[in-house]
Structure formats: structure tokens, C-alpha cells
């Protein structure tokens, strides 16, 4: 097996046993990364940084002072500010921006010896479910069943494609409405969005500050536990980052879920749900029962209002967060005509720098926050959000340990296939995932099977706040029971 095909857990063992060096691993991944240009996953490559970090990691491993992620080559979503390395959030408006600072999460990972191969493709400003709105062009799913190129999902499409295609051993993603879980499901990998506040958001380009969370995207549940443990923790720079100790998530993977109660929410059975998704969901419930858990029909009555509430709150927060992209301090500034004043500069810069979907969402946000509409839309949506969260709290209070749902309404679709769809049709891709961001809960996508054409399908597990260990343990059981080992055949 080549170094790039290893899991993080296997690589960690091999590094500690001296069977492979961090430089070997980095070289294997850099080679795979360069051979993987057809996936358009990596958009800024950092081979020199990777090799410098790998050499330092080898020295540390030799000294016996190596944390779990030391020497592990990772891809970093373009949304993270990485010092001196282009960080554009998939947008033209940040072209040329090289941060003078490192995000808290990447600082923590590199401090522990992790290796950065490069920055990964994504939907512009994390707004999308297909990676088609990126200024770098779409990322491509390593999975194919005919001559169509498929989406890896979004917004963390490049991250998903890179992990599924073995271009790296793991990747960082972010999730605001499903952007880790949906691409993980579309590419047959594992992705977890932790509890809101578990991981620092400082240095991550903000989309919707009350919904955004960073998380790992990996080849296995164990790898997700390892990488999440290395990412999580209190950060005084992020006032929403909880001052709670980080449990050993890997130690929680006992594989024992006997007596645990798994909620199956009836409102997630959507009208017109494909039979295959329904069947996969039932099979997943059965697998958990076979492992000794008990499944229970539950109700989350406000589920259907999650998408509309999300599409008020997220754009509102985005309009505020994206106000800073004005051509003054960084990124693109429009060429100005004689007599143009400051407002012309702002308006032209933003019209040129933001893509269509971003412009739409910023405008929707401005509208719902404007005088006369704030109460009708934004306040109402926040009240509905409180009710959505209350639905989950009620169910957890009744003894439910985890909730099992589909992850996506379909398998990966073709690039360009949704181009004539309305924005709202594209938003329906998030129907199973947005509730989790609204409630601030941890959620994980696990690959469980293939659809009739041979494309990966995943299931989602939702957990109690702060109990990512227990959630990952349920995911671990599901992963073992499902036995999903299929890999995409290399066409690139």
C-alpha cells in the first residue's frame, strides 16, 4: 500500500514503529496530489512547507515526543487562514490574500506536527452544496459510474474529493448547513461536525457565525476521532469556543452500544424520498439493533421549518460577515472610473468579486435584516430555531442517545445538472443536515452502502451536545456493521 492510501491510524502506527518516515508519507501524498489535478481538489499546493514540516515531524518522532497527528499529511479547506499561503474562501474577492496570521485550528494542528499539503477547493464563502460556485472551477468526485463528472458535494467538496481519492490522509472541512456531512456522504468518507463551540472559529473566514463549525473529513471513524481530538479545545480568541476539556474521543470507540436508544425521527421521512435512501435508513437501524441498541420512533415536529429558518438566519449573518469585503484592506479592488467615490468602489468591487450565489445570499440577508422586516423574518426565524432546538432537547431528555437519519436526499449528481434548478432546489440538498447546525448539535456522516448505480450513500447520526465521543462510538459500530470498503476506481 502506498503511503497516501493509509488511514491516519495506520500511518501513526507505521511512523511510531519506524516503518515509514513523515517525509515518505509527504512524498507519497505530494505525488498523488500532483497526479490528482483532474479532481481539481487542491487549489494551492504547498510542497515546500509540507516537506519542511515532515522533516521537523521526523525529528520529533525520533525524540519520542510525537502527538497522534505528528507527520500526518493533511489538506486544508481554502476557508482557513494559513499564514503566508493564499486563503481565498473560494472567491475572486480574496484573490491574492495571504494572511499574516494562522487560524487557531491550523496553528494547533501544525504545532502538533501535522503536515499541510495545500489548500482545498470549496464553494465560494462556503455557500453551496456542490462546489460549483468556486472561483477555481468545480471539484470533481473521484467516484464515477459513466462518462459524467460528478459533484463531490459542497461546500467542502475539495476536502471530500482529496480524502476519497487518497490525495491526503485526512482533510479539514467546515460545516454551516451540512458542508462536511453532505460531501462526506457523496464521496463515501466520514465527516463530523462537532458541537457548536467545540472547535475554535478564529481565523476561519466567517459565513454564519452562529452556525459555522470546523471538523475533520477522514477515511474512517477512528481517524475522525483522532483528528477531531487534535483540532478541538478552548481558544480565548473565539468567545463562542467553550472552555471545556477535550475528552479522548478515540478512547470512546469501544464498539459497545448495547442498551443505547437510537431515535428514528418520523419527520425525516420526506415525501418523494427515493426508495434506496429509505431502504438504507432501515438497514442502518437494523444494524444498530443487531449491535444491541434499541430503536425508537421519535418526533421532531419543527423539522420542516429548518430549511426556511436556515435560509433566513444564514444569509442574514452572512450579509454582516461579508460586509468587510469592500476593496479597502485586502483582496480585489475594482478599477475605478474618474470621479468614482467610495460607494462606487464598494459596489463595483463587490459586484465583480462575489459570485452569483454569494450576491443572492448577501442581498437576502440585507433584506431580512432591514427596517420593517427584521421582526417578520429574522426574529421569527430565531424563534423557530429555538423551537427546533427544543425538539431535540425534549427527545434527549426522554433517554434517546443518538438519532439516525439519512445524510442526503440522493447520491452525487452530475456537474452542471443543477444549473437550471432554482436556488431553492439546490437548497433541498441540505434538508437532513441543517437542523443539526440550527440546534448546535454534533452530527456525523458515515458511508453505509452503494446505490444501484454504484455511488456511495451515507447515513447521519446526531448526538447530544458535547458528547462527540459517544456519537463517534455509534458511528464506529455502524461503520463496522456496514463494512463499506469500496474505493473509487482511479480514472484520473
Amino acid at each position: 500500500m502506498n503511503g497516501n492510501e493509509l488511514t491516519i491510524a495506520a500511518a501513526r502506527e507505521a511512523l511510531r514503529a519506524g516503518e515509514v518516515s513523515a517525509v515518505d508519507l509527504a512524498m507519497a501524498c505530494l505525488t498523488a496530489m500532483d497526479a490528482g489535478d483532474g479532481l481539481n481538489a487542491f487549489v494551492h499546493k504547498t510542497p515546500e512547507i509540507a516537506l519542511d514540516q515532515a522533516r521537523a515531524a521526523d525529528a520529533r518522532i525520533a525524540r519520542g515526543d510525537a502527538p497522534g497527528v505528528c507527520g500526518i499529511p493533511l489538506g486544508i479547506k481554502d476557508l482557513f487562514c494559513t499564514k503566508g499561503v493564499p486563503s481565498q474562501a473560494g472567491s475572486k474577492i480574496l484573490r491574492g490574500f495571504r494572511p499574516e496570521y494562522e487560524s487557531s485550528v491550523t496553528a494547533r494542528l501544525f504545532g502538533a506536527g501535522a503536515v499541510m499539503l495545500g489548500k482545498l477547493n470549496m464553494d465560494e464563502f462556503a455557500m453551496g452544496s456542490s462546489n460549483e460556485s468556486s472561483c477555481y472551477g468545480p471539484a470533481v468526485n473521484p467516484w464515477r459510474v459513466d462518462d459524467r463528472l460528478l459533484t463531490p458535494g459542497g461546500s467542502s467538496g475539495g476536502s471530500a474529493a482529496a480524502v476519497a481519492g487518497d490525495l491526503c490522509l485526512g482533510a479539514l472541512g467546515t460545516d454551516t448547513g451540512g458542508s462536511i456531512r453532505q460531501p462526506a456522504a457523496f464521496t463515501g468518507i466520514v465527516g463530523i461536525k462537532p458541537t457548536y463551540g467545540r472547535v475554535s472559529r478564529w481565523g476561519i473566514v466567517a459565513f454564519a457565525s452562529s452556525l459555522d463549525q470546523a471538523g475533520p473529513m477522514t477515511k474512517s471513524v477512528r481517524d475522525a476521532a483522532i483528528l477531531l481530538g487534535a483540532m478541538a479545545g478552548h481558544d480565548p480568541m473565539d468567545s463562542t469556543c467553550a472552555d471545556l476539556p477535550v475528552p479522548d474521543f478515540e478512547a470512546a470507540l469501544t464498539g459497545d452500544i448495547r442498551g443505547k436508544v437510537i431515535g428514528i425521527p418520523r419527520e425525516y421521512r420526506m415525501e418523494g424520498m427515493p426508495a434506496e435512501i429509505e431502504a438504507l435508513w432501515s438497514r442502518g437501524a437494523e444494524m444498530l439493533r443487531d449491535a444491541g441498541a434499541v430503536t425508537r420512533d421519535i418526533s421532531l415536529p419543527h423539522t420542516k421549518y429548518a430549511l426556511p429558518a436556515y435560509y433566513v438566519i444564514a444569509p442574514a449573518e452572512a450579509s454582516s460577515n461579508l460586509a468587510r469585503y469592500d476593496g479597502v484592506r485586502y483582496g480585489h479592488r475594482a478599477a475605478l472610473a474618474a470621479g468614482d467615490g467610495i460607494t462606487d468602489m464598494y459596489e463595483k468591487t463587490r459586484a465583480e468579486g462575489f459570485g452569483r450565489e454569494v450576491q443572492r445570499r448577501v442581498m437576502v440577508g440585507a433584506y431580512v435584516l432591514s427596517a420593517g422586516f427584521y421582526d417578520a423574518y429574522y426574529n421569527r426565524a430565531r424563534k423557530v430555531r429555538a423551537l427546533i432546538k427544543r425538539d431535540f432537547e425534549a427527545v434527549f431528555a426522554e433517554g434517546v442517545d443518538a438519532i439516525l437519519t439519512p445524510a442526503t436526499p440522493s447520491a452525487a449528481f452530475g456537474l452542471g445538472e443543477m444549473s437550471n434548478a432554482s436556488p431553492v432546489e439546490m437548497y433541498l440538498n441540505d434538508v437532513f443536515t441543517v437542523t443539526v447546525n440550527l440546534a448546535g448539535l454534533p452530527g456525523v456522516a458515515v458511508p453505509v452502502g452503494l446505490d444501484a448505480r454504484g455511488l456511495p450513500l451515507g447515513l447521519q447520526l446526531i448526538g447530544r451536545p458535547w458528547e462527540e465521543g459517544a456519537l463517534l462510538n455509534h458511528a464506529y459500530v455502524l461503520e463496522s456493521a456496514a463494512g463499506f470498503v469500496a474505493k473509487p476506481s482511479k480514472w484520473w
Binding site: T240, L307, P308, R333, I342
Partner: protein, 95 residues
């Protein structure tokens, strides 16, 4: 709620995004579509429900009111499209 051309023009200005006159109908239609989707929220009985402010219950910590950073103007200006004499340079702001 249907968005008309005038409202679309106002919203574009609020967002400080230049939208050409001929594009306003398309923008108005797209915004109307998205906002129509939100009408469903009116079905919910939100009587007595406080809007969610804090996602996970937590107190916002305060820190000491002291200067703990700064003193590197060159780094701050490093990504500026235009910088002069330690300032970000922009077109005329005040009429």
C-alpha cells in the same frame, strides 16, 4: 412576498453590490423565490418563544482591558490594494 424592481434596487444598495438596471428583474425574481420559501415560517406558533441568541448556553467571558497586540503596521497593510504612508488609501469619502 414578491420583490419588485424598486425593492431589488434598494436591497442591492443596502448590500453595496452594483446591479445593472437590466439585471434587476432577474435579481428581483430570484429574491422573491427565496423569500417565498420563507413564508412557511409564518405557520409556526411562536407565541412566548424567545428568539435564540446563544446557540450553546454559555456566558461570554470578559478579558482584561489591556493592549495585547499590535505595533506592526507593515503586516496590517501587507495585503492592501493601495496603501500610502501607513494608511489604507481609498477614493474620496466625504463630499
Amino acid at each position: 412576498m414578491a420583490i419588485d424592481i424598486d425593492t431589488a434596487r434598494k436591497v442591492a444598495h443596502l448590500a453595496r453590490i452594483r446591479v445593472a438596471e437590466e439585471d434587476l428583474p432577474r435579481v428581483a425574481a430570484e429574491l422573491s423565490g427565496i423569500l417565498g420559501f420563507m413564508e412557511e415560517l409564518n405557520e409556526v406558533d411562536v407565541e412566548g418563544v424567545a428568539p435564540m441568541t446563544s446557540v450553546t448556553p454559555m456566558r461570554l467571558r470578559l478579558r482584561e482591558d489591556a493592549v495585547t497586540d499590535g505595533g506592526y503596521p507593515a503586516r496590517v497593510l501587507a495585503n492592501a490594494p493601495e496603501a500610502r504612508e501607513g494608511f489604507f488609501a481609498v477614493p474620496k469619502v466625504v463630499e
